[in-house]
């Protein structure tokens, strides 16, 4: 399994799973997939790669791939130039895992044009994507409406009974994990300790 730079992908003959390397949950899942994707012969079944920060490099893999979209939803880039997103991407990953093929046929089962198992997988992905911020991930997106009350409750509990681990979910702002913590400045004003101007 390769997990290197884009320059190490000379030609795309295997599906490429892109993951958000700023998200701890995504990193764990990606490493889990890397372990599972190694076949008995030692050959890699798919390439797992962080999204990174270069929009042009992503475009070189697929001209239709937008870096903002890549961070928003899981993407699998197919060798034929197509892209699988969300639950469909998960299904494609499972299809390519040596131990996942035995049950992935169920995902193709269609009842009057409706694929119930794929729909369940899509739903499971949506729920996982929504709850990622609950695990302390600050780069996992704006929490869904149904997750916000849980985040507020966790935030209240953390600030009441211990140190605050979760950022306030009430601003349009993602705190940098490396930044020194200061009181949030009033909108339109510089921080009191900025000392630059």
């Amino acid at each position: 399994m390769k997990e290197g730079s884009f320059l190490e992908i000379p030609t795309q003959r295997k599906p490429i799973l892109l993951f958000d390397d700023e998200c701890a949950v995504c990193r764990h899942i990606a490493h889990w997939v890397i372990e599972l994707a190694r076949s008995k012969s030692g050959e890699d079944c798919l390439i797992v790669h962080p999204i990174g920060n270069d929009p042009e490099l992503l475009r070189s893999l697929n001209p239709d791939l937008n870096i903002w979209d890549a961070y928003e939803t899981i993407h699998v880039l197919m060798p034929d130039g197509s892209m699988k997103l969300g639950g469909e991407a998960i299904a494609e990953v499972l299809r390519n895992l040596p131990n996942g093929k035995w049950f992935t046929w169920t995902l193709a089962v269609s009842v009057l044009g409706f694929r119930p198992f794929q729909a369940m997988l899509n739903l499971a992905y949506s729920i996982l994507a929504d709850v990622r911020p609950l695990f302390g991930c600050e780069s996992c997106g704006t929490p869904g409406a149904w997750v916000k009350p849980i985040m507020w409750a966790l935030h209240w509990a953390k600030t009441t009974f211990g140190g605050s681990r979760h950022p306030s979910p009430t601003t349009h702002f993602t705190s940098l994990p490396t930044a020194r913590r200061q009181p949030m400045p009033v909108t339109g004003e510089r921080p009191p300790q900025a000392g630059l101007f």
Partner: protein, 116 residues
């Protein structure tokens, strides 16, 4: 949504281009400190593109990816993303953190420091 393509109204600056483009730049310059993995930055991106187009003749817009340029983020004490900093002839004249992702709010935020 622009991601550094030909429709992108906001140019990305790096540690090496920040000084010539921003600090030595003439007139009003707005710098967005952002990262592609930040959901709030994604939300505000189309708004910023729109505002950048609206103020284009008068103000220049740049972005700094804090994931790539942590030194710049540290130098300007960026607490989180998105943070907009307004420069006038190379001098900082204002900043706003996590602006409301509406055109009117962002337009006000990037125009107000230059009105006085």
């Amino acid at each position: 949504m622009a991601g550094n393509n030909s429709n992108d109204s906001i140019q990305t600056v790096t540690g090496s281009t920040f000084s010539p483009l921003v600090l030595e730049g003439q007139g009003p310059i707005v710098v967005e400190f952002m990262s592609y993995g930040c959901a709030h930055c994604r939300t505000i991106e189309p708004v910023l593109q729109q505002v950048a187009e609206m103020v284009k003749p008068k103000e220049k817009f740049f972005r700094v990816n804090v994931a790539v340029e942590p030194e710049l983020a540290e130098r300007y004490e960026i607490q989180g993303t998105p943070t907009l900093m307004m420069f006038l002839d190379g001098n900082g004249v204002g900043r706003i953190e996590g602006p409301n992702p509406q055109v009117s709010s962002v337009l006000t935020a990037v125009s107000q420091p230059y009105e006085s």
